[in-house]
């Protein structure tokens, strides 16, 4: 659990860095993924403040983690689209430095989220965690041989 919390903390810090930077062009894409990052931030704060000894802790944990992953799943394509839009609208685009900074933040968030997977799978069994962790985060490294 401690390891999981450490990764969640790291994600919280990364998101904070993006949010502190604020909007750059405030187009519809940036508005949408910022709303998701803000929600992620709230969820992370609740996760980190959770009383893990409470009776319904596991149930709450499941809901909050599910929302966290889904926030990321929705934010990631919006962010990629925003990157493209930034290059295409020179007049209202963020600077290369701003773009690269965000890119690296999102990459790190993805990396950290991936790191959480085994811990979540430990807390919940494989079957339950399928409904918590999105497929691509869970299965990218799962090889099948027929």
């Amino acid at each position: 659990m401690n390891h999981l919390i450490l990764h969640l903390k790291k994600i919280e810090q990364l998101i904070q860095l993006i949010l502190v930077q604020g909007y750059t062009n405030k187009n519809s894409l940036e508005i949408m993924y910022f709303s998701l990052l803000r929600e992620e931030q709230k969820i992370l704060n609740r996760l980190m403040k959770m009383n893990l000894d409470s009776l319904d802790a596991k149930k709450k944990l499941k809901v909050l983690l599910s929302i966290l992953y889904r926030d990321d799943e929705a934010a990631e394509p919006l962010f990629r689209a925003w990157l493209r839009s930034s290059i295409w609208s020179p007049s209202s685009c963020p600077t290369v430095i701003e773009r690269d900074f965000r890119k690296s933040m999102f990459r790190e968030i993805q990396h950290e989220l991936k790191e959480t997977v085994p811990y979540v799978q430990q807390i919940f069994d494989q079957e339950q965690s399928r409904y918590i962790i999105p497929a691509l985060l869970r299965t990218t490294n799962q090889r099948l041989s027929y």
């Binding site: 809901v63 934010a75 493209r84 497929a135 691509l136 027929y146």
Partner: protein
């Protein structure tokens, strides 16, 4: 009542008597017209409308009448092709092709895992093919990367319905259009895209004056021209408009309070959201005058019955799903749903795209099941007799997300079935680069722009060469019977999939083959068991019944043996936690809801109203790209012209791309009609002749997307943006920004020349040279004066097609009478 009488449209080209007529359904658009295929000596030689079929009563439109030519096209692929070491596509045997396919699938699964294989199919195949894709994809390959070009076509229909009503399935039907007082068409141009349905609407309108038609479209389309009220809004402002109209309807107290109380939730949130959308604010954002807004709101607020249709102007625009939900909101606050003449009728584009959604070939779960509901997943596992852990959970991934995985080199096999994404995907250069990073299998009867990036090409059978069913836009399941054998060495998609499953040795829990059926009919019997008890229950259908009754609308079961034209007549919606097909997504940003959040909504069978937030289009005209670019279809062609381009008649009437530009913009840029110009966006450029017409508003240009050859530089999707709706993941083709550059050369007038001789040299008139150079009379040509000459000019004449104008006096379109021109059809 649909149609007063029948009229059998016919297009045969045959020497001598034909042998037989085979029962079928048109395979072009989602209207679902019944037809018969003419066969002579195991060859398709024509088509005629089915006069008994309630959808069309014998009518067919030009695309429908000419679809069969492609079957006989001399350039059909008759053997599989593989790319050799020199990079050339060379013929090979089916055995070799299957070996390559199976080896590649195994390699991809080994190297990348179950989501290393993606299947991207179509909206033009049969229900049985899609169901087989779903089963092989989910239970065999264990992938959830199943998508189709329906993502470009009807994905938003699905998500709009899931959000408001808990399940897919359009509430209203064509019969409702026949009796409604008001028809509200939003981004839907049936005069060109669903022509027979439009003829049906106009036949009644000419006769009775009804329905009152309100058309929302930034272009003056042929549909808009017939409207009582055309709301010609600025591009990308659908939600602003609907919020403004709902604001007025609530303000005028034209709402059905008891309906809202009994059958919906979240009305107060909706009221709050539309509060700011005063007529003045709406007018400013949409460009529609307040008076017109008030007129529309009055009609929509007072009408006793209303059908609203939506299509690509909604689905391929900014705020696509939000607009669709806004339409549902409108019907719900007025209580206009679940009774004759009432309800949202969110359309589909292709002839069976809806079937792909229904049976799960497009990544949805079969039979409107919820991929996040363990009970629903368990049901499928039991029905298919596979371990539950083999079935991936979670919502489908759209093609844009799959492309991204390809860019990241996470896909080992991309299997493309009967679609041409190198023409139809937005920002196609990006798509091409992604395709080049993986092993691509293309299943197509012809060489296309997409086979250019294929490693393996499999030639499938076409319409008329296989059995099966299709689902149209109003839940009608129609039958298509095999009329002729496919050419030797050409296999139906269905057979290709079955052979693939056999060679992959996919098995169920009891070690029996995963796919045990061998014919489409047997497959349909299995699907019936899977659908039983679900919203799209088809347990009461047989192929024989489909032929006897000319299509049946789902659900068809013991309770409704002859189908269900209209959904939600009991006003019970699929919004209980156990029944819902999805727990929904956040309408603002697309974040998937979790079960507990859905439970907390407490909808429990009531429809869900949503606050709808307007977000302007992402790319808008700027200094560098000052024009809006929108794309769309012509009445004469379908999609990427793989079939319609092979019909001599259709190809002759609309052989190449063009750009429509308003006379004001053309004047400002000194453009000549037909002058070839370069359209440039941040993604690339195309070169097309101009059509200077006021169908587009100033500041907007329109390019048909049908023309995609790599050499001709006319592909609209070379310059479109590839942003997608956050819920449905449907691309927003309708709003990009571009600029126009003239392609001209400069010449100096010599002492031997004058304007008349220069004009003659370049095949222009003096007036054209004067216009191109902003000269004012009297036109002088001084020696040494520099003038501009357009490099190229093409006469673009695209005749409109409006049979309803003179249905009685003029014969319908006939290939023999070709070309049909304006003169043929106008007064």
């Amino acid at each position: 009542m649909s149609w007063i009488d029948s009229r059998i449209d016919l297009n045969i080209y045959s020497q001598g008597e034909i042998n037989q007529w085979i029962y079928s359904t048109c395979n072009i658009c989602s209207i679902g017209c019944g037809c018969y295929i003419a066969v002579k000596d195991n060859k398709i030689v024509g088509i005629k409308g089915n006069s008994e079929h309630p959808i069309n009563r014998g009518r067919l439109d030009p695309k429908g009448e000419n679809q069969w030519y492609a079957n006989n096209s001399p350039d059909r692929l008759l053997l599989p092709l593989k790319r050799d070491t020199n990079g050339e596509l060379v013929e090979t045997t089916w055995d070799d092709a299957f070996t390559i396919l199976v080896n590649q699938a195994k390699r991809a699964l080994k190297n990348y895992g179950p989501n290393g294989v993606a299947i991207y199919s179509t909206g033009q195949a049969t229900l049985e093919t899609y169901y087989t894709i779903a089963k092989i994809g989910r239970a065999g390959l264990r992938s959830h990367l199943l998508d189709a070009n329906t993502r470009l076509c009807t994905a938003t229909t699905e998500w709009g319905l899931l959000e408001s009503f808990g399940s897919d399935g359009v509430p209203a039907c064509y019969q409702d259009i026949d009796v409604t007082e008001t028809l509200f068409l939003i981004g839907h141009n049936p005069a060109e895209t669903g022509t027979v349905l439009f003829e049906r609407i106009m036949e009644r309108k000419k006769r009775t004056g009804k329905p009152f038609m309100i058309v929302v479209d930034p272009r003056k389309t042929l549909t808009a021209k017939e409207a009582n009220c055309h709301l010609q809004l600025l591009p990308g402002t659908n939600v602003a408009l609907l919020n403004g109209l709902i604001h007025l309807i609530i303000k005028n107290n034209d709402i059905n309070k008891s309906f809202i109380k009994q059958h919906t939730i979240h009305f107060n949130q909706l009221v709050e959201a539309v509060q700011e959308w005063t007529p003045e604010k709406t007018a400013k954002e949409t460009g529609i005058p307040v008076k017109q807004l008030e007129l529309a709101a009055e009609q929509l607020g007072k009408t006793p019955s209303l059908v609203t249709t939506t299509l690509q102007g909604t689905y391929q625009s900014a705020d696509a799903t939000t607009t669709t939900v806004d339409v549902n909101n409108l019907h719900l606050i007025r209580g206009l749903i679940g009774r004759p003449g009432c309800g949202p009728l969110h359309m589909a584009g292709q002839p069976s795209s809806s079937a792909n959604r229904t049976v799960g070939g497009v990544g949805s779960y079969p039979g409107n099941r919820n991929p996040n509901n363990p009970q629903h997943v368990k049901e499928i596992a039991q029905l298919w007799n596979v371990p539950i852990s083999h079935l991936e959970v979670g919502p489908e991934k759209g093609i844009e997300e799959i492309l991204h995985l390809m860019e990241e080199e996470n896909i080992g096999l991309f299997w493309n079935i009967q679609t041409n994404p190198m023409v139809s995907l937005p920002n196609r250069k990006r798509a091409k680069k992604a395709f080049e990073k993986t092993f691509v299998v293309v299943q197509d009867p012809f060489l296309t722009e997409t086979t250019e990036v294929a490693d393996l090409v499999l030639p499938p059978a076409m319409w008329g060469e296989k059995d099966g069913t299709m689902e149209n836009a109003d839940r009608t399941i129609n039958l298509l019977k095999k009329a002729i054998d496919p050419p030797a060495n050409v296999l139906p998609d269905f057979d290709i999939l079955l052979e693939f499953a056999r060679r992959m040795d996919f098995r169920d829990r009891d070690n029996n083959p995963l796919i045990s059926y061998t014919t489409p009919k047997e497959c349909f019997e299995e699907w019936k068991r899977v659908s039983k008890g679900r919203p799209s229950d088809m347990s009461g259908i047989t192929y024989e019944k489909l032929e006897k009754y000319n299509g049946l609308q789902w659900p068809v079961n013991e309770e409704h043996p002859l189908g269900t034209p209209r959904l939600y007549t009991d006003l019970n919606f699929h919004t209980t936690v156990d029944a819902a097909q999805s727990y929904g997504k956040d309408l603002f940003n697309g974040r998937e809801r979790v079960k507990e959040e859905y439970e907390a909504l407490n909808a429990n069978g009531k429809a869900i109203l949503y606050p709808t937030i307007y977000l302007p289009p992402i790319e808008r005209p700027s200094e560098e790209y000052p024009l809006w670019l929108t794309t769309g279809r012509l009445v004469w062609h379908w999609h990427t012209r793989t079939k319609t381009g092979r019909s001599p008649a259709l190809q002759m009437v609309a052989p190449e791309g063009y750009v429509e530009i308003n006379p004001i913009d053309a004047d400002r840029l000194d453009l000549l009609p037909g002058e070839v110009v370069r359209l440039i966006s941040a993604r690339g450029w195309i070169e097309v002749p101009t059509r200077i017409v006021d169908t587009v508003q100033p500041g907007l240009v329109f390019v048909p997307f049908h023309y995609g050859s790599w050499e001709a530089h006319q592909a609209a999707n070379e310059i479109t943006v590839d942003f997608t709706d956050p819920l449905s993941k449907q691309p927003t083709f309708k709003q990009s920004a571009c600029r126009i550059e003239k392609r001209r050369k400069k010449i100096k007038i010599t002492s031997e020349e004058n304007l008349i001789s220069v004009a003659k040299n370049y095949n222009l008139t003096v007036n054209e040279i004067a216009r191109a150079n902003k000269m004012t009379p009297p036109f002088r040509s001084d020696i040494g004066q520099e003038i501009e000459i357009p490099l190229s000019k093409v006469n673009v004449t695209i005749p409109p097609y409006m049979p309803y104008r003179k249905v009685e006096r003029y014969p319908h379109f006939k290939q023999a009478k070709f070309p049909v021109t304006k003169i043929d059809l106008q007064d």
